[in-house]
Assembly symmetry: C2
Homo-oligomer: 348 residues x 2
């Protein structure tokens, strides 16, 4: 898609022209968005009992995404929702997004438009204002940086270092699907390399492909907590893999954790594809990233509030630091969990 030389090169529009072109149809949805794109800075205002929550994230071509099988529109959507997810993990609501792009000047304008269209669709769906950013050139490839600003109530924010011993460990949705989607896409890319022109065999895998290419942020869970009057004792989003995220909560809260393998929620499609690839489904769920589900802990007294709710699964409990972070297998043996989550510096 990026090789079509007939399209408008970015250099023809220039930096300001490109920004104007990409942002001219944006209308601001929030009263808190006082000023958006077009000045030195965006202006945001919250009332007294609200706090501003802000997170930033950077993605580089060849490391975080591969344009040979990731459509740019999906990539834009994912950049946005993965950032919204960070705000949800604070038990807050995403409100304003800023996007910076560094693109090779050989990228056609259409490509950047595609990327932006995905970002804007996500903003629309999640009721977020795009209020600023930067667009500049790079010597090669595409780098995307996003900054998301959210609104929260000071007393309801959920941190990583506030979990307590005996709290229950819960996750939303199911895990490992995004990783299996990626594994599938990578296999088809290899096939294509060996047999150029081969059509990808992706049929019947919609769920795991969508988990990888078009993940959603669990803003519905933030709303559910409100409705259930449930205050998690800690929370984190699952971007690098369950094992890595559990380690973050345990390290920062000074605790251990016991996770029951049989409780980890895995979709049947994820399970079956893992088996076909000779992978252990539990390992995929523990170490595969990008599910963007929420991992949170609750006081055991609150269990009644989530009991039977299909959105939530209790997978274990927090224990004394000295007991370590362990996976209790289906055969009832205990194995230390190591954070083998995704690390851009050591992978490959």
């Amino acid at each position: 898609m990026l090789e079509n030389k007939s399209r408008t090169p970015i250099s023809e529009l220039g930096e300001f022209g490109l920004i104007r072109h990409l942002t001219e149809n944006i209308t601001l949805k929030h009263n808190s968005s006082i000023k958006g794109v077009g000045d030195d800075a965006a202006v945001i205002s919250y009332s007294d009992n609200k706090v501003t929550v802000v997170s930033t994230d950077m993605l580089t071509e060849g490391v975080h995404f591969d344009l040979s099988y990731v459509p740019l529109k999906h990539l834009g959507y994912k950049v946005a929702t993965s950032n919204f997810s960070d705000i949800c993990a604070m038990n807050a609501v995403p409100k304003q997004l800023l996007i910076s792009l560094a693109v090779s000047s050989r990228f056609p304008v259409d490509a950047v438009e595609e990327l932006y269209s995905g970002i804007l669709i996500a903003c629309e769906r999640y009721n977020v204002d795009l209020v600023g950013g930067d667009t500049t050139s790079s010597l090669s490839g595409l780098t995307i940086s996003a900054t998301i600003i959210g609104e929260g109530e000071k007393d309801k924010l959920t941190y990583r270092n506030t979990a307590k011993e005996k709290d229950l460990i819960c996750v939303t949705g199911d895990l490992g699907g995004a990783f299996m989607g990626l594994t599938l896409l990578q296999r088809e890319k290899e096939v294509f390399k060996e047999v150029p022109g081969a059509q990808p065999d992706l049929e019947g895998n919609d769920y795991i492909l969508e988990r990888q290419l078009k993940p959603e942020a669990r803003i519905d869970i933030v709303q559910a907590f409100q409705e259930l009057n449930l205050q998690p004792t800690s929370m984190i989003d699952i971007s690098d893999g369950l094992a890595s995220e559990i380690m973050h909560i345990c390290t920062q809260s000074g605790l251990g954790a016991q996770i029951y393998e049989e409780k980890i929620p895995i979709d049947p499609m994820t399970f079956n594809r893992a088996r076909e690839f000779n992978l252990d489904p539990t390992t995929c769920a523990l170490n595969g990233g990008e599910d963007y589900e929420l991992l949170f802990t609750i006081n055991a007294d609150d269990f009644e509030k989530i009991k039977g709710n299909p959105d939530f699964t209790v997978i274990g409990y927090l224990s004394d630091k000295n007991s370590g972070v362990n996976l209790i297998s289906k055969s009832n043996t205990s194995h230390p969990i190591k954070a083998q989550g995704w690390d851009s510096f050591v992978q490959k």
Copy 2:
């Protein structure tokens, strides 16, 4: 500096290790910084009459900076101050910074430390909290994205689209110095390429080199406006060159502008070096970027407040849109100004 293979490679620390290593000594200075690095998002809170001002910026190696003559510590300092400058241009005060880096995994940890040390020195000097960011790998080179959050008073913010006809156009400091510093560094790089081992001839050029390598943000001017009880009618920082910034204010305010060449403040060193390089000093001031001075407009009735103040120079006035944006030369002829400011997509 980046070639020394004996140093710790980043992959040894990993992403989380690196972030921890870089941020472990940070202490937060502001009551508004509720939570800094270490969770899904930073948490920031302002009181009711204050607004949050936010800006983001991206810099790529080979486009925005050349590590062959820019020390990483200076680069870090400049990344920070150039972002602070965007908040100053809103007549607001920078408070919290987030930094995202994408670096090739071949960069030694020391290099990233150097960069961070410059960022932290700037944060210390400007009383800004580093509250978050992301550190990830890239296939090649270094990309830096910064997001700066500031605090302003709703009624005192200065936008680009609020200038009025007959307002006076003012600048702070002097212009063109950063460009001449860059020109000098580029010349010495060429000499070095032809005669490896040649010592750079930079002596006696401290001022313009510092303008290029270690620019400051004019936070002092934001304070001065407060003390002078002066409310600019519009403001922008001069990052891409005076011509480009004037065009932004004129376009967004729907006005023209008449600038007097003889009024444009140029330091004698900038002037002399420009002559030596056979460059027109006025062109350097108009089209050279990165001075990070402020361009602002005031109601003519406020002239008394800045008269004789060495920080400010009145360089012209705003006129009807149809009169155009013109430079009135020393010989009293009028030339249309074109925004030939720095554009990363068309330069080279």
